[in-house]
Amino acid sequence: MIEAKEITKFYGKGESRFQVLKNISIKINDGDFTVILGASGSGKSTLLNTLSSLERPDSGSIFYDERDITTFSESELTKLRRDNIGFIFQQYYLLPNMNVDKNVKMGADLSGNKNYRSVIEAVGLGGKLRKYPSELSGGEQQRVSVARALAKNPKVLFLDEPTGALDEETGRQVLDYICALQNEYGFTIVMVTHNLNIAEMADTVIKMNSGKISEIYANETRKTAYEIGW
């Protein structure tokens, strides 16, 4: 379980200093699909980065199975990410000089996963192992980044607007792959989005506004990527 207690985060200095996160407290259960929903500038990406250890909060605590990671050193945080966390970003961030196989191996090698090609097959790119990122469409690149994140067998998968740069059909496909793989492997998903419809796919929705949580609610049933509006 991931638990954040009273976390705050400031950006800037002097007169331009402003508070991005205002005393946020949340709990994310193992195996849950949690969506952090909010408009641009609401602080949702900062919250995701803080929960995933990419940024340190200015105050408050974040517990991973009762271990407060805000007290961790940089090398301990690196190990935490190595052993537990997968990331998918809106801009994919694939390594341009490496083909699909090697990009996915980047994640797989960290967990010693020798069967990583099954994940590439699962996202439908089994026939494009030797292709380079610039030879792929946006949707295919995002599927590579999904495969790369999942090939390291993460316990928690953090996604920052994973469909933000994709068209509707491709976006639905990518989300469908992620959910199918979650059903198979049982990892926790924390996804940031501004799309209200995507929130219907989650177990829990955390709504953010101006650095604060405005609402937390649970969906009675999770919809599939093909059942939601866009």
């Binding site: 990410r81 390594l95 490496m98 083909n99 030797r130 380079y132």
Partner: protein
């Protein structure tokens, strides 16, 4: 203006190399031109042998040192122009999309030649200042009649004016051919990604090994520079130490100074470029949980064997060059001292090289460790 002063300031390495080239060439060519003027005053056969040897030395030193340095400048200039176009692809693409012709955009690259001009002027001036001392050393040997440095306009043209114009044209021409790629290619910055499937693409190596290979392959020019840096260090330091009995202290000092400046300049430039061009890769590796050691090992580690190879080639080069000088150029000179491979110089050079190189790599790996994982999200 398309290219700012800050961009030109980054061409410091070119100015330093040009400065070294201009310094060496001015000194030796000026002396050679002046010595031709006193040829008729040399009456003894021994004097004529010395005269021929001196002229040959001047030509060899100016030719090899100047030639190598000019070749390095060409590579450096092309590297910087390419780097500039790669990192400003979007701006250049937008200009082309707005209707600016390839030539109208490329002609702004003439300013890259300013770095050559600055280096050549400083090198020429430094040589002019040092020339009286250099002539005094030669005069004190009493091999030839007394000489004074004369001013030669032709050297100003050959060492400052022509190279400046040549490098300005080279920058414009190279930029013209690079910018000729389609607008969308520039805007999407895809023109540098090559899809050549090599043996290592098919091999099943660990990711870090693949990354090490890919880092080397993606920027072959940096491989050359790292190797060249070690080559300069090895060749120039050993040559300087081996020349104790063959040439003056001033000459040894000049060679070691030029060698060290070139070696460290190219090494710093190369490693800075390696780290900069891999910023996103390093950030992603950190995001995924790769340790600092794994990041710096895979990004910088591949250059270690390259530098060792450069060092070995430099050792062989300096020995062969001095061997040729002794056996061919000064073959008829009676008092020529014996020349053997200097193992002591090799040991000193190798230990100093290893210590300096490892320290620099350590500093750069510290730079990598200080790189924020947020850097990829701030685009």
């Amino acid at each position: 203006m398309l290219i700012g002063i800050k961009d030109i300031a980054k061409l410091f390495a070119i100015s330093v190399v040009t400065c070294c080239a201009a310094f060496v060439c001015t000194l030796f060519l000026n002396y050679n031109i002046d010595i031709v003027g006193i040829k008729d005053e040399i009456t003894t056969p021994q004097g004529m042998v010395m005269y021929d040897a001196q002229v040959a030395t001047g030509k060899v030193v100016a030719g090899i040192a100047g030639g190598c340095l000019v070749a390095t400048t060409i590579v450096l200039l092309i590297f910087y122009v390419k780097n500039y176009i790669d990192s400003h692809g979007k701006e250049l693409g937008i200009l082309k999309a707005l209707g600016y012709s390839d030539l109208s955009v490329a002609k702004h690259f003439w300013v890259f030649g300013v770095s050559v001009f600055a280096g050549a002027v400083i090198g020429y001036a430094a040589a002019a200042l040092y020339m009286p001392t250099f002539y005094d050393i030669q005069n004190n040997m009493e091999l030839f009649p007394q000489m004074k440095p004369e001013f030669h306009v032709s050297l100003v043209l050959y060492i400052i004016a022509f190279p400046t114009v040549f490098f300005m044209l080279l920058a414009v021409l190279y930029a013209f051919f690079k910018i000729k790629s389609p607008v969308l290619g520039l805007l999407r910055e895809t023109q540098n990604v090559k899809f050549k499937v090599s043996k290592s693409d098919k091999g099943d190596f660990p990711f870090l090994t693949d990354l090490k290979k890919s880092t080397l392959k993606s920027r072959k020019i940096l491989v050359f520079f790292v190797g060249f840096s070690a080559f300069c260090f090895s060749a120039m330091t050993q040559m300087s130490m081996s020349m104790d009995e063959l040439a003056s202290e001033a000459m040894s000092f000049m060679i070691i100074s030029i060698g060290l400046i070139l070696a460290f300049m190219t090494l710093f430039m190369s490693l800075t470029s390696v780290v900069k061009s891999n910023t996103k890769t390093i950030a992603m590796m950190k995001v995924f949980g790769y340790s600092q050691r794994e990041c710096s090992g895979s990004i910088l580690g591949g250059y270690r064997p390259i530098s060792y190879v450069g060092f070995v080639i430099g050792t062989a080069y300096q020995y062969l060059l001095l061997r040729i000088m002794v056996d061919v150029v000064f073959a008829d000179f009676e008092n020529m001292p014996e020349f053997h491979f200097n193992f002591e110089a090799l040991a000193i050079s190798a230990v100093t090289f290893l210590a300096a190189y490892e320290m620099i790599l350590y500093c750069y790996s510290k730079k990598i460790s200080g790189q924020s994982v947020k850097s990829i999200m701030l685009e």
